[in-house]
């Protein structure tokens, strides 16, 4: 097996596994840039996965090929609404943001499993019948060498994730909205003095993280797991969180880290088919993304600077 053939297995599958992480990690970037820690990404993904699968199973007959897209839209809306709980707790009620995030994770898992039992009378849903089709990107897939690696046999949401990372970068660094977002995360009092509504900005940011977390969960469920059970989202939200920190709270960095995690994840799954990896015990491949993250955080990429006001509620008039 040549290197090229190996790459042809690994790269598309890395992008495939990375897409949900990219969406969710971008959500994390918005929330944390505004100064609100979001450990609840896992829960938001769970909600998104649940809603997209239920929507898909319920409406597949009516909407046909549009079903998966509408299901993702439903996941986005549900994620945004669910994240309001985190917003209310951590912005208005001044809750400890990490604890509130943990509560969000618990609540999402409990609620979705309760509802699955209610609706289907069993612990998991059926498999969805209508998913996304694999496509070859027109023109680009014909480019020699890189075409087959990056642009064929892939899912549209994967490309959307990568495009969205650049959009998020533009929004956060090049627009007045992004400037305000970063201002309330770095120095909320200064932002307040300049007439920026800190609470409102943070609410918007947390809801964006909810929408994107829901989308990430929806994409994972629709493309990778294709059903919903207690184990559908198991740690992917935390992986996204890690990707966000790894990427230094920067959209492009977060995307890069998510792609890297997707790569490691794909290695652990396709590793068995690749000659020089065949004799490596699976456990090394399974733990690779986590070990690499620790090593990277410890030495290779240096200190990651979080937004300054992260984790602290803003209380008007208090110095």
């Amino acid at each position: 097996m040549s290197i090229y053939e190996i790459l042809q297995i690994i790269i598309p599958s890395a992008i495939f596994f990375a897409a949900p992480l990219i969406f969710t990690a971008l959500g994390g970037v918005f929330s944390e840039r505004s100064g609100v820690v979001n450990i609840g990404l896992e829960g938001l993904m769970t909600i998104g996965a649940f809603v997209s699968i239920v929507f898909n199973l319920t409406f597949a007959d009516r909407f046909g090929a549009f079903t998966p897209w509408l299901a993702l839209l439903a996941a986005v809306i549900a994620g945004a609404i669910f994240s309001l709980l985190h917003a209310v707790a951590s912005i208005t009620f001044r809750a400890d943001q990490v604890v509130s995030g943990v509560a969000i994770n618990f609540l999402a898992l409990g609620l979705t499993l309760f509802l699955v039992k209610q609706m289907y009378g069993k612990g998991q849903t059926d498999q969805i019948q209508v998913g996304f089709d694999k496509i070859d990107v027109p023109v680009l897939s014909h480019i020699p060498i890189i075409g087959p690696l990056f642009f064929s046999n892939a899912y549209i949401p994967s490309y959307l994730a990568i495009i969205l990372a650049f959009v998020a970068w533009y929004v956060i660094y090049k627009t007045p909205f992004g400037l305000r977002l970063r201002a309330v995360g770095e120095h909320p009092m200064a932002a307040d003095t300049m007439g920026i509504n800190v609470a409102k900005m943070r609410y918007i940011a947390v809801m964006i993280s909810g929408a994107l977390g829901g989308l990430g969960g929806g994409v994972y469920a629709t493309i990778i797991s294709r059903d919903f059970s207690h184990a559908t989202i198991s740690g992917h939200g935390f992986m996204a969180l890690a990707a966000m920190i790894f990427g230094k709270w920067h959209p492009i960095g977060a995307m890069g880290a998510a792609l890297f995690f997707g790569f490691a994840q794909s290695l652990s799954i396709v590793g068995q088919t690749i000659p020089f990896l065949k004799n490596v015990p699976t456990v090394y491949l399974l733990i690779a993304p986590y070990v690499l993250t620790i090593l990277a955080l410890a030495g290779f990429i240096g200190r990651a600077e979080a937004p300054k006001a992260i984790g602290t509620p803003y209380i008007k008039g208090k110095r």
């Binding site: 450990i39 709980l85 209310v88 707790a89 951590s90 009620f93 001044r94 809750a95 400890d96 990490v98 604890v99 509130s100 943990v102 509560a103 969000i104 618990f106 609540l107 898992l109 409990g110 609620l111 499993l113 309760f114 039992k117 209610q118 184990a231 198991s234 740690g235 935390f238 969180l241 890690a242 920190i245 015990p281 699976t282 456990v283 399974l286 733990i287 986590y290 070990v291 993250t293 620790i294 955080l297 410890a298 030495g299 200190r303 990651a304 979080a306």
Partner: protein, 348 residues
């Protein structure tokens, strides 16, 4: 009684009550009778000696995982890695439990010590990284959880069994099983671990409240710069706090390995005990005595929930919703405090 003291006690109680109330709203909305639901829950947790035994057995690891989380919290660290430390502790305890042949007075303590050491070692890595490189402990402990899960699974397959999914049972000399507790609780799985858990709570209370080292650890958690200025070694204290927290978590794993199950099997996912420990610590106000009570509450909720589907038709997952809501209300305690202070002002 001073008002802030009173509130410190009232906030968790109100959070539990609010969680229960919202839980009953969920039950009503989904067409169940909340009174039947909660009766089943209480019966399933305390209805007869068997259920009481099961509740106490479930409470045992909760106490220790709650202590682990709380110890870190009190010293300014957030240890989300209790789950992973618990798993490696479980593995170490079972390993010692099956591979040595020793008298019980040596074997059992040795197995528990091994678990504590394994947990401590697992927490040492995030401790060092936090202390020397200022890498956030939350992210490292999350990663360490996954590494623990996969590594223990691999060791169970290759070392503790012959490519199987389960280790041999631990020897009698390392077991926490008790014929006496078995007899008085109608053959529940309750074991002597509860005594160890209570001793653990006393150790944590003593260590934090009564020793100079405990004062130092809390001081570093409260204000690193001030502690540094006062001549304390901040780095050593951060590492020590993490290691002690991990040791508690490791012993929680020993409770499962030497008591409840008596073996270790490969896991597709986390046990959840470590994560529930976060909730236990919060409700218990991060103090040792409070944690005993909140662990009992969570043990009762989890065990009692098993009775709900058969006698009230309510899915057990409802309890997870209630637990989540309780955490949510504790987190939002600012609003509860605000209401309380309004009420108290109104009464004056």
């Amino acid at each position: 009684m001073n008002l802030s003291r009173l509130n410190q006690f009232l906030v968790p109680v109100l959070a539990v009550l609010l969680g229960m109330i919202v839980g009953s709203i969920v039950m009503i909305v989904s067409g169940y009778n909340p009174i039947a639901g909660y009766s089943a829950l209480i019966y399933g947790a305390f209805g007869d000696p068997y259920y009481i035994g099961e509740t106490i057995r479930q409470t045992t690891p909760y106490i220790l995982s709650g202590l682990a989380v709380a110890f870190a919290f009190r010293t300014g660290l957030f240890n989300i890695g209790v789950e992973g430390q618990l798993i490696v502790g479980w593995l170490a305890a079972v390993w010692v439990g099956v591979s040595f042949d020793l008298p019980k007075v040596i074997h059992l303590p040795l197995a528990i010590l091994a678990a504590a050491l394994a947990g401590a070692l697992w927490a040492l890595i995030p401790g060092i990284l936090k202390a020397y490189l200022k890498v956030h402990e939350v992210i490292i402990t999350i990663m360490m959880n996954y590494i623990a899960l996969h590594v223990t699974n691999a060791i169970i397959r290759s070392v503790l069994s012959d490519q199987g999914f389960k280790s041999k049972p631990v020897r009698e000399s390392a077991s926490l099983h008790s014929d006496f507790l078995d007899a008085i609780t109608y053959h529940s799985t309750m074991h002597y671990g509860i005594i160890i858990a209570i001793i653990g709570a006393v150790i944590m209370w003593f260590l934090l409240e009564k020793t100079t080292k405990g004062f130092e650890l809390r001081a570093v958690g409260f204000n690193q710069h001030a502690s540094q200025y006062a001549g304390m070694n901040v780095r050593t204290n951060i590492i020590l706090a993490m290691v002690i927290s991990g040791a508690f978590a490791g012993v929680a794993g020993a409770m499962e390995g030497l008591g409840t199950f008596g073996y270790i099997s490969t896991k597709a996912g986390f046990t959840g005990i470590g994560f529930d420990g976060i909730a236990v610590a919060l409700i218990g106000g991060n103090n040792a005595f409070g944690i005993l009570l909140s662990a009992l509450l969570f043990g009762a909720l989890k065990v009692g929930a098993l009775e709900m589907p058969s006698s009230a038709g309510v899915p057990t997952e409802l309890v997870d919703i209630i637990i989540a809501l309780i955490i949510f209300f504790v987190a939002s305690s600012y609003i509860i405090r605000l209401l309380l202070s309004r009420l108290q002002k109104g009464a004056e």
